[in-house]
Symmetry: C2
Subunit: 167 residues, 2 copies
Amino acid sequence: MYFQAMAQCAQALRNLEIWLDKAEQYAGERHFDIGVLMTSRLAPDMKPLIYQVQSACDYVKAGAAWLSGQKRPKHEDTEQTIDDLRARIRKTVTFVESVTEAQYADAAEQRVSLSFAPAGTVLVGPDYLLQMTIPSVYFHLAMAYAVLRHNGVDVGKMDFLGPINWV
Amino acid sequence: MYFQAMAQCAQALRNLEIWLDKAEQYAGERHFDIGVLMTSRLAPDMKPLIYQVQSACDYVKAGAAWLSGQKRPKHEDTEQTIDDLRARIRKTVTFVESVTEAQYADAAEQRVSLSFAPAGTVLVGPDYLLQMTIPSVYFHLAMAYAVLRHNGVDVGKMDFLGPINWV
């Protein structure tokens, strides 16, 4: 389930790429600089879209690393343009896809030390996945989506969900 | 994992109750009718906050029912006030908490027929949980959160995550 859950997080980042494509098309049609959307936010004391994308990527990367017992690759938060964000998404997805199902064998027993955890505490694998990784990934993705939606980009819930494996 | 995932979805609804409390307090301080926030949205062609809460509740309820092989309880979408929404959340949480871990024993083999699925197709348990239930729950919760955040309610990411099981 850990492997499948992280694969789904990677898919959620791929879905985000589609929203960025739609945002770029919208900016082109309306003749405004796509950079306006990259620095938009829903409230003045909220981080802008670029940060939401960086943060979603970071939680996906960290989830795949911690739950497979690996060191997290370092991705600097230097993105400024929509193409920078696309590159960030792709290197995150590439990392997640490099992790095999076998590498998640001990995921449930991993003890995860987060910089913002209360001193001396950790999260165990299932809680880390369900209480931190998954809600954080979807939170930051949804904030990016909400900024675009609020500004008129033609994204809808099916763009949020992405491909569904109907059988 | 299915039991834990659905328990976390129920917790996410409890977190939403805290945001509603904050929204009510904010409306009181600013002397406006809380009903204004209940019918707010981020874009004119987006459903209002009341719908986002109903929908989050429905995906949680449906997830717990389908994955435990039970019929979904029927909850009519008649809510109009913040107290109506609180009642909707509570009856959803009560249902989820009535499902025991043992009842999820066959969750991975469940075949889920959704009204909006392509004709003749189903979702199997793991895909239903990871591609439909979890992202839909967090999507609608995040849209409710975003409406409140955009309108000045003092909610932050830790309110979105709620209690974390640090050990």
